[in-house]
């Protein structure tokens, strides 16, 4: 038992959240800007969430083979929902008066999006990233079934060998990780909100 497994788990989580932000943010913006696409985008990310994690990883393994790529792709698809959803809701909830003011100042649609709407929606988007991070820490346990390693391998090994100590170690490490990131990101978010309201 050593620290490298925890780092491996963190690496998987970090890469997954990063990529799902790269994919999810544009999708959320697309849903906000384009009404016909909105339903499709929000529906697809919700359907993705209903597929059992293990099944999703299994299906992706068919394409990419066992390994980290499979795990990260699966986790990206899985954490799209909170990010896309919160980006969309955040942009939608920006005060209409402010949007109008932007228009009145002669900003184009894209100027407004980048310099007015996204900054104001940021706390909401960040909350989506936080939810995605905490969920991914838990779901990443399945990585081990498709050859991705991480803390799941410790828990599986514990269950197979009926070793309570291993199970507890794996679980505690996961819990500490999830709580740590949750608290950290809540704190960062509250700082961001404070700064932007000054």
């Amino acid at each position: 038992m050593d620290i490298s497994i925890i780092l491996e788990h963190l690496y998987i989580v970090f890469m997954s959240v990063l990529f799902s932000l790269v994919v999810g943010l544009p999708l959320g913006i697309l849903a906000y800007l384009n009404k016909p696409m909105r339903k499709i985008v929000l529906w697809v990310v919700e359907i993705l969430q209903t597929i059992p994690a293990l099944a999703l990883l299994g299906l992706i393994m068919v394409v990419f083979g066992a390994g980290k790529v499979t795990v990260i792709t699966g986790l990206v698809l899985y954490s799209l929902l909170p990010i896309v959803h919160n980006t969309f809701i955040g942009l939608e909830n920006v005060d209409n008066g402010i949007k109008e003011a932007g228009k009145g100042m002669g900003l184009t649609k894209y100027d407004r999006l980048i310099s007015v709407e996204i900054p104001l929606a940021f706390p909401m988007i960040f909350t989506g990233v936080r939810i995605a991070t905490v969920t991914t820490i838990g779901v990443a346990v399945f990585a081990t079934s498709v050859g991705g390693g991480g803390l799941g391998s410790v828990i599986y090994q514990g269950i197979r060998t009926q070793n309570m100590k291993l199970i507890l170690f794996g679980t505690l490490a996961l819990m500490v990780m999830a709580i740590f990131f949750d608290v950290l990101m809540i704190w960062i978010n509250s700082r961001l909100v404070k700064r932007s309201s000054n």
Binding site: I51, G58, V146
Partner: protein
């Protein structure tokens, strides 16, 4: 089609077992959560401490519950149902609690003014107003539980996870799909049913507001 000859019966069996795990654990979890949520909403000063503690438990992956219970109870369906029920409790509990606390104080005052006892206020005013929130929690619990029931196969208890596990182990896409598609469809159908339920459960006076 040869596929139905080979897998048809097993698939129907697996769907039934899967559905049984989901329905029984969500049912048990829902009632425990409802009662706990109501009790916690009566003592908000303690609930402020208890709720974050419970949300810490929520970070334990379902697989650990199943694994640990498996070591103590062995390979029986109760292992899966208890583990999934524990997992199903939290979303309902949280939504019951916040739903009840979000009821506007003036409604509760009005109920008091009408001479309602605390129990009457709870049953006739607070719970109906919290129903939409409670049902949203039920929907989340159900979707999670369909997903986590796949793990029953990990300890050899069948369900749709069996196809997925065998498929992953033998690199057989077809078997993975055979487990994944029905379970996704099950989650979607159950959540649609709950949406319908929600429409009926919302008090008449509130429906026009939505």
């Amino acid at each position: 089609m040869s596929f139905f000859d080979t897998y048809g019966e097993r698939l129907i069996d697996a769907i039934q077992i899967h559905l049984f795990y989901v329905l029984s654990s969500v049912f048990i979890g829902f009632f425990i959560a409802l009662i706990l949520g109501i009790l916690l909403s009566r003592i908000p000063q303690y609930a402020k401490i208890i709720m974050p503690l419970l949300s810490i438990f929520q970070t334990i992956p379902g697989i650990v519950f199943i694994g640990v219970l498996f070591l103590y109870l062995g390979m029986i369906p109760a292992t899966v149902i208890i583990a999934l029920a524990i997992y199903a409790i939290f979303p309902v509990l949280k939504n019951t609690y916040t739903g009840l606390l979000d009821v506007k104080p003036e409604y509760i005052e009005a109920a008091k003014g009408c001479g309602m006892s605390p129990i009457q206020t709870l049953l006739e005013v607070e719970l109906p107003l919290a129903t939409p929130s409670i049902i949203t929690g039920l929907r989340m619990s159900t979707i999670y539980t369909v997903s986590w029931s796949v793990l029953a196969a990990m300890i050899g208890l069948g369900g749709l996870g069996e196809f997925i596990y065998i498929g992953i182990a033998s690199n057989n896409n077809f078997l993975i799909l055979l487990g994944a598609i029905p379970s996704a469809i099950m989650a979607i159908i159950l959540s649609l049913l709950i949406d319908v339920l929600r429409r009926f459960a919302v008090p008449k006076g509130l429906r026009s507001l939505k």
